[in-house]
Structure formats: C-alpha cells, structure tokens
C-alpha cells in the first residue's frame, strides 16, 4: 500500500461521508471503511510481509486515517440526527411512547379540595347510601308525607313511597344524627338524583356537598364565616358572597348563599337570569325537630348544616358551561399537560 493509495482512500472516504444523506447511507460508509471487513481493516492484512520499519510507519498512518474517518462519521451522524425528521407516528415501533398523564375528574378534584379545607378544620368525611328510605330522605328531615316542600325535590322512586334515590345529601346528615352522638363536625359529598328534565343547567344526576356541625352552641355568624372561608379558598379572596333567608324544612333559620355572578359581575346576564347573583347552596341552623327525632336534646345542642350544589361549584371553577358534560362522554382530558391539582 503506497502513500498515494492512502491519500486517495482518505479523500474517497471523506467524500462519501459528506455525501451521505441518511443514517442508512452513513451506516454503509461506516461498514465500507471501518467494518470488520472494511477497507481500512483490510490494509492490515499485508502487514506481515513488510519490513518492521515500514510496518510501524504504515500502522501509524492507517490508525490516523481510521481515527479521521471515525470522527467524520460521528460528526456527520450528529448532523444527520439534528436534521432528521422522525418517521411519522412510528413511536411504538421504536418501543417508546410519550407517557400519558392521568387525571382526576373535576368533580373529584373539587371534592378533594373542599375535603382538604374541612379536614384541616377538624371535620370528618362521611358517605351514605344512594338508595334511601323515605324516612332518612324526608321524614327525619322535617318533611312529612304530602308536605309541599317535597315539590322542591321531584323524586325518582325505586318503590314508591318507601324507597327512592336520594334527592339530597341531607339524608346522610339524618343518618349521622341517628348514629353518632354529638359533638360532630362532618362533611358528606355525594351523588344525588331528581326527576328533572336534562338541559344545559339541570341534570337528573348531580352532586351535593353536605356539611353538619353539632356543638353546644353555633350561630349564623359561625355558619357564614365557615362558608365564606370555603368560597374564598375556592374562588379567591375577591369573591363576593351574600347570605339571605331561605326556607328549607330541615333548618331554621334557613339560608341561601349566592355568589356574585362570575359572568357579568352582578350586572345581570342570562346565566344569572338578570339578577346578578348565582345561588350556590342552602344552609341554616339545624331544625330542633331533626335533633328531637334523632334523640338529641335540642336544649343542649345546636347545629348548622349546609348543602352545596357541587356541580355548579365545579362548573364555575373549570368554566364548564353545560352540566351534561360532567357526566357525559364528551369530557376529555388534555393528553400531555396535566393539572392534577387545583390552583
């Protein structure tokens, strides 16, 4: 092998590396010169017949050339990787896909955030059955049969009049009062049912978030302070809330809690039906009849309770305009960017 041959081989290899347009081209160049049977490796085959001095010099030159070609291939490989567009959607073939981020349902996220707030204040979290008896859903809540207040909650019956799908989570409150002795601080999220036509703002399956406190002494001020804290934690310190008198048979005095309409800021719009406020739930001081039915002395114990329309809270939080989305098949989650916690 002469010096000229080596120079030619070097020029030839350099040109071919430069000319390679794909990784496959480059692989071919690599094997042609640097593979086990590559041209540079073959140069060593005639070594044994050469005198030692030539052998040493040629060996050094071949090694330099080999290093040079290796470097060129490496540089070219990096360059090709930078410009190469990955084959479309064949990620699986490469044994790798972008990790899917899992999400909790917005209702669960909202429940968790509310639970967190109340657990920090020493409340317990309870659940109750969705198939409920007339006793726990109505009678123990101061709503006897044929009471007009039953019109407020059109009921889906399993076996009329004894068994039904609970119309509110106040039924859990009735169960707690029946089972546990005060003092009590409890919240109860859950699914409820009413025989209502489904539209953008009503569904026959929705969610409530119930709260119950029974202590020797509670007041409306305590109730408002508690709810206000919740509102502000959920929607920010600038949230405007009002509490007004409202009738619910299970509480007295009864309270309706409204949030200044987030769509119109109180000016009046279709969402708030022009009144500037959106009703977010009911509350009040537990009616003494409830305590009496549960065998709790209403002279010694007082309670407050609240029942929040959870779906409305979620819609306000996540800017979902149609309640049907929450339980339908058209609620999807972002594939890559996940927000598992509320901010």
């Amino acid at each position: 092998m002469s010096e000229v041959d080596l120079k030619q081989l070097k020029i030839q290899a350099e040109n071919e590396v430069v000319a390679a347009k794909t990784m496959a081209d480059l692989d071919l160049v690599f094997y042609k010169y640097l593979g086990k049977k590559g041209q540079l490796k073959l140069l060593f085959r005639g070594f044994a017949k050469l005198p030692e001095s030539e052998r040493k010099q040629l060996g050094v030159e071949i090694n330099i050339l080999q290093k040079r070609v290796e470097n060129l291939v490496t540089i070219k490989k990096t360059a090709l990787e930078l410009v190469v567009v990955k084959p479309a959607a064949k990620a699986e073939d490469l044994g790798f896909t972008m990790p899917k981020i899992g999400h909790l349902h917005p209702i669960t996220q909202t429940i968790r955030m509310m639970n967190k707030i109340f657990i920090a204040m020493g409340y317990s979290v309870m659940e109750g059955p969705e198939i409920e008896s007339d006793g726990y859903n109505f009678r123990r809540l101061n709503v006897p049969p044929d009471h007009p207040a039953r019109d407020m909650q059109d009921t889906i019956y399993i076996k009329e009049p004894d068994f039904l799908l609970r119309t509110h989570t106040s039924s859990v409150e009735a169960r707690i009062l029946a089972k546990y002795k005060p003092p009590l601080k409890v919240v109860c999220p859950g699914r409820v049912y009413r025989n209502e036509k489904v539209n953008k703002s009503n569904h026959f399956i929705f969610h409530h978030y119930q709260g119950l406190v029974v202590l020797p002494k509670v007041s409306l001020k305590d109730l408002f302070g508690t709810l206000n804290f919740l509102f502000k934690k959920m929607y920010g310190p600038k949230t405007v809330i009002r509490y007004r008198n409202k009738y619910y048979p299970e509480v007295e005095p009864g309270v309706g809690s409204d949030m200044l309409c987030f769509a119109c800021q109180g000016k009046g719009c279709p969402l708030c039906k022009g009144v500037g406020w959106i009703e977010m739930g009911g509350a009040g001081i537990v009616h003494p009849n409830l305590l009496k039915i549960a065998g709790i002395n209403s002279q010694k114990w007082m309670g407050f309770a609240f029942g929040l329309g959870l779906d409305r809270w979620v819609m306000a939080k996540y800017k979902i305009n149609d309640i049907r989305t929450l339980l339908g098949g058209n609620l999807a989650y972002k594939y890559f960017e996940g927000e598992n916690t509320l901010s």
Binding site: P99, K100, I101, G102, H103, H105, I107, T108, I119, G122, S124, M126, E127, P129, E130, I131, P145, D146, P148, A149, I156, Y157, I158, K159, L165, Y180, P183, L184, K185, V186, R191, N195, K197, I205, L215, S219, L220, K221, D222, F224, G225, T226, N228, Y243, R244, N245, Y247, P249, E252, P253, G254, G256, K273, V275, E279, I285, L326, G329, N330, A332
Partner: protein
C-alpha cells in the same frame, strides 16, 4: 308571585324605598327576587317584581301577603280595602258539606240579578301580568281576588245547579269535563263539588263545565273553602292537574282568612257587576275554629342564633311590625301569638327566624372563621382507600370518569357478575335508562362508545362509584372501582394495573382464579376473579367480540378490599435496638416445588418479631431440582441468637 310596585305603594302608603330596594329587602328576608321588569300599567310606568315564595308561606301567594311583609320590613302600616257587605254568620241552606274530614272550612254566598259582561281594560291588563286570559267580568274578578288575597274562589251559575251545592267525596262519577272542556277520568275518592245529580268541580283544583259562569249568568254562588291540604295535593298529583288554585290550596292557608276574601270578592262583584244578595246569602261550614299557638319565647335567642347582639326592644318592635301579639311574662320569657294568617309559626325557633330575617342577614359578619373545639374523627377508611386507589391509577396514566348510574336492563344482563337482581326505577326521567347499574362496566362501555365516536384512541379510564342490586327484598349497593383499557395488549395492561394497584395498597399476594360467574360481556376464556392475599375481591376480563375489540375491564369491590386491608398490620414502624443480622442459607427444591409456600413457612417459623427481610438472592439449576440461596435478615437479635434461629429454621 308577582306584584306591581304601584300596588305595594297603594297598600303600604308610607313606602319610600325604590322598587329595586324593595326587591333586595325581600330577597334578603326570604323571598328571592327572580325578576324585576319595567312595565306600563294603566298608561303609567311601573315595575313588576317577581318573587320566589317560600313553600311554608301560603299567606304570601297573594298581593296582600307581600304588602304585609313590606310593611313589616319598613315598620309601616298596611292598609287593606274595607269590606263589610256580608253577615258574620251563615244560615243559608243552599249548600252542605258531606266530606267533613277533608273540608276545614267552606263559605258560599248567593248573589242574584248580576249583569255579567266583558272586563274593563285595567282588569284585562292586570291579569295579563299573571298570564291569565280574560274570560268575562265575573270570572276575571274571581281571579283578581285570588291574585290579590292569595285565596282561590269558585263561581257557579246558580241557575244551572239542581238542588244543593255539596262538597263530597267522589263515589259516583267516572269523569268530569272542566271549564276549559278537558275531560278528566276520575279514580274515585276525590273531593268534589256536586249538585243533586251532577259533578260541578274538583274541589280546590278546577271547576266543571256544568255550572260554568257565562255572559248570560244572572244568579251565582261564590264558594271558597280550605281543605285538608294533603288531600288536595294527592288528588292533584293523582289526576295530574296543577292549577293556580291547587298550588295554593295544597299549602297551609289559614281558614280564618276566608272571611275577608269572600267579603272582598262579593263587594267587587256587587260594585262591578251589580246584583243583590238575598236575605240569607251566606252558607258557612266551620266545625273546628282555627286557633293560634301561644309560644314561649326568650328574646335573647335571636341574638344567640345570629351570633351578634340583637336588643330586646328591637325584637319586640320586629314582632309587633309582623303583627304578632307579644306579652312580656318575665325578663327572659315572652308569650307570643302569631297573626291568624301565619300558619308557618309554631315554635320558638320560628320566631327567632322571623326576628333575624327582618333584622337583616346582611348585618351578620361573614368573614370571621369560627374556632370550634376538636371533635372525634369518624371518617371511614373506605374514603381514604378510594382516594389512594384513584391517585395510584392516575399515576399509571388512567383518567377518571364519572358516569350515569342508570342504564338499561340489557346492559345489566351483559355486565353483572354478582348474584343479585336488577333494580328498576319507577319514574326515571330518562326512559331509555330506567335501571340502576349492576356493574361499572355498564357505564364504562357506554363511555367508551362515546369516546370512539369522538375518535379518542388508547383509552385508559376508571370510575369509582356505586353499583346496585336486589337480594330478595333488600336493596343493596356497593362501592366499586371499575377500570377499562382499550388498545393493544389490553388484558395484559389491565392485569398490570390491577397488580400495581393492589400491591401499592399493601397486598403482598395478587392472583387470579378462573371466574365462577362470568358476565355475558366477557370473553369466556379470558375471565378471572381477582385474588388479593387469597381473597376474591373482584373480576377481570377481556370483553367478548360482541362488545368492543381489544378491550379489557376489571372491577374491584372497594368495601371488600378495605375489609381485607383492615386485617393487615397497620403500624409500619419498628424500633431497631440491635444492628440487623443478615445470614444466607441454601435450600433445594424439586422442579415442581412451591418456593412461595416454602418462604411463607420460613417467614412464619422466624416470626414477625425477629424477621426483617427474606430475599432470594441467587438460584442455580441442578439436574432435577433448583438450588436457591436465601438471605434472611434478623432484627432485635444478637449475632449469636440470630444464628441459632437461622440454623434451626433452615435445618442447617
């Protein structure tokens, strides 16, 4: 209930607050303002306020009731129109009451020689605010009286009645044709108005065509009554008729209010339609006179309930403004008697609400978080477990779904794997989905179809929720975790999810057993029960070809899982008094030997007090058996004691 602002001002002459201020005051005091509309009435600008009336305030389903409230809010007097045309007692014999238990009070008055005609424009315009069409002057005046006082009345053409007007329980009539010519099939037992041979109306609900008032009417009977409200409600529900009258009469209207109302309407008729009353015009049935409770009341209580001081003098003033009679018995004890129309007031707490709502909810601070005593926590473990499970699944890339718990019977038949019966609702609003789901698969498969429609690929979803079933006569429900995967290797991935979930929750051993009960939706050869620490807690299966391709589903009973978890040691903390001692031992097992069983035995032999860890660190295949190198790490033992146990347990 709607009311014109001008009418409120007319009845409460001193009212200075604007319509908006009045609306706000009412809203805060229990009557949510759900509409404030600028209108024109009798050529003058006016406001129509619309209030949501509390279910227990039947007295406010008329303008008079709202005017009384307005007067009380602003400490003003309410001036009602004078009426005094009727005698105080009724001796007329043209009517009788047979349904004595259902009728609390009935009044009827006869008017002769009226000249009925079309209504004047003011009346038509007024009724239009309430979406009531004008019929003729007599009928319109009756409707006007109802809107004004809140009490429904019923006018009958006396000349069309044969014999006596009678309130009775229906035994004879199969149907009635109402005033608007609708035929209603009767079920029997309804409270009706009849004469000697015909049905004249459904009492408290709707009048009949037989004695209908028309422009030719000259002699009439005005009747009004208060019934057992529950009976009116039941009749109205059973016959599926809701009217302005039934809405009012199924609430607690005061029987005492009838005196004013019948006087008011009779005066109007005599003034607007003419006519005269006979010498004995009034029929009256009132067997049990209404009495009001005498309530003992502590004037300090409103302040206690509100959480802010409310002076006694203020309490007194508010109760007086609300027309309550207050007698001070001692320092902290008053006797309070509500006015006759306030049927909602019965106990001290009712009075507290009255005082606080008029005093003003807006005066109670809202930004003071109460400091309550610490109480015992009663949160069940199931809630924590469900939360943990969903956290693990989202970490594994699953999205949580919340879906309908109602489904079809067919879907239940395909997906149920628990031995229980279907539960159907009696009146589901959605007729396509009348039954409660027996498996979460019923919901997730529907969800999957929705995603398919929207071209969402690689579905990994789960739901935690209730499933329902009937066992004999008991309705049961269980909290379940359902998980569904669609895509390549769905079943394998489903198993991986199950194992990761269960091991993360604390189960050491997860296994599968060919399912005893296989749901129809499952591929029969790919359906197993899920075992956690040898206990069945759920099911896992590949969906059959008839369902969805490349889809697997698993369902775990969270209560069962929680029950088994509760049996495991819950304290993970130990105090290490000595250094840990690790010792190796070789054991040989035949090719069919059960290594897990052997390790379990070793674990039991060493005991929890001394065993820290047990690991297989090496294995070597011999000719017909395998040699395992086991590393046992001991705690709370000296080197010598550990070695002694080690030698004994491994028979070295």
């Amino acid at each position: 209930m709607k009311v014109l602002y001008s009418q409120l001002k007319q009845l409460v002459p001193g009212l200075k607050a604007s319509s908006k201020q009045v609306g706000l005051k009412f809203a805060m005091a229990g009557f949510l303002l759900d509409g404030l509309k600028k209108v024109s009435f009798q050529g003058k600008k006016d406001w129509l306020l619309s209030f949501e009336v509390r279910q227990n305030r039947a007295d406010c389903l008329g303008i008079v009731g709202l005017a009384r409230e307005a007067a009380a809010f602003y400490g003003l007097k309410c001036q009602l129109p004078e009426t005094g045309v009727l005698p105080k007692t009724g001796k007329a014999s043209f009517a009788l009451v047979e349904a004595k238990t259902a009728v609390k009070r009935a009044l009827a008055v006869e008017i002769q020689g009226v000249k009925n005609k079309q209504s004047p424009s003011w009346l038509k315009e007024f009724l239009s605010f309430y979406d009531i069409n004008s019929i003729n002057l007599l009928v319109d005046l009756s409707n006007y009286a109802m809107i004004f006082t809140g009490y429904p009345s019923h006018l009958l053409d006396k000349n069309k009645i044969s014999g006596s007007l009678c309130w009775a329980q229906n035994k004879d009539f199969k149907e009635i044709t109402t005033l608007d010519a609708t035929k209603i099939v009767l079920k029997g037992g309804e409270i009706i108005l009849k004469d000697d041979s015909r049905i004249l109306g459904l009492a408290g609900i709707v009048g009949g065509k037989q004695a209908m008032i028309d422009l030719k009417t000259t002699n009439l009977i005005v009747e009004m009554a208060i019934y057992d409200r529950a009976k009116i409600r039941r009749d109205s529900r059973a016959l599926k008729i809701t009217t302005e009258a039934s809405v009012r009469l199924e609430k607690d209207l005061s029987p005492e209010g009838l005196d004013y109302v019948i006087g008011f309407l009779t005066s109007l008729i005599l003034k607007e339609v003419g006519g005269k009353m006979p010498s004995c015009p009034l029929f009256s049935f009132y067997p049990h006179k209404q009495t009001m409770p005498k309530i003992k009341f502590n004037p300090g209580m409103p302040g206690v309930f509100a959480g802010i001081p409310i002076r006694e003098s203020k309490c007194f003033q508010i109760l007086k403004n609300l027309r309550f009679r207050v007698k001070k018995l001692s320092k902290n004890s008053w006797q309070v008697v509500p006015p006759l129309d306030r049927m909602d007031i019965a106990i001290g707490q009712d009075l507290v609400e009255e005082v606080v709502r008029v005093f003003g909810f807006e005066k109670i601070p809202i930004d003071e978080l109460p400091v309550f005593p610490v109480v015992k926590t009663i949160t069940p473990l199931d809630i924590e477990l469900a939360e943990k499970a969903s956290d693990i699944l989202t970490t594994l890339g699953f999205d949580e779904i919340r879906s309908w718990t109602l489904t079809t019977m067919e879907m239940n038949l395909r997906t149920s794997w628990i031995s229980w019966q279907n539960i159907a609702t009696q009146n589901s609003v959605n007729e396509e989905f009348p039954d409660l789901r027996q498996s979460i698969a019923a919901s997730l498969i529907l969800e999957l179809r929705e995603y398919d429609k929207r071209n969402v690929a690689k579905i990994r979803i789960f739901e935690i929720g209730r499933v329902f079933g009937r066992v004999q006569n008991n309705f049961q429900e269980k909290e379940m975790l359902g998980l569904l995967i669609k895509g390549k290797d769905a079943l394998q991935n489903c198993k991986m999810a199950a194992e990761t979930l269960l091991r993360s929750l604390g189960f050491r051993k997860v296994g599968y057993l060919i399912a005893k009960a296989k749901p129809l939706a499952a591929s029969p050869n790919s359906c197993w029960n899920i075992l956690a620490n040898n206990k069945i807690i759920g099911i896992i299966y590949q969906l059959g070809q008839a369902e969805v391709k490349e889809t697997a589903f698993l369902e775990i009973d969270l209560s069962l899982m929680n029950k088994h978890l509760a049996g495991l040691a819950t304290n993970p903390v130990v105090e290490l008094d000595n250094k840990l001692v690790a010792l190796d031992a070789n054991i040989e097992l035949g090719l069919k030997g059960d290594l897990r069983a052997l390790l379990t035995k070793i674990e039991a032999d060493i005991g929890q007090n001394y065993l820290w860890a047990l690991e297989v660190v090496d294995q070597f295949a011999l000719k017909d058996k395998i040699r395992y190198t086991i590393k046992a790490t001991y705690k709370n033992l000296s080197d010598k004691a550990a070695k002694a146990i080690h030698l004994k347990v491994f028979s070295l």
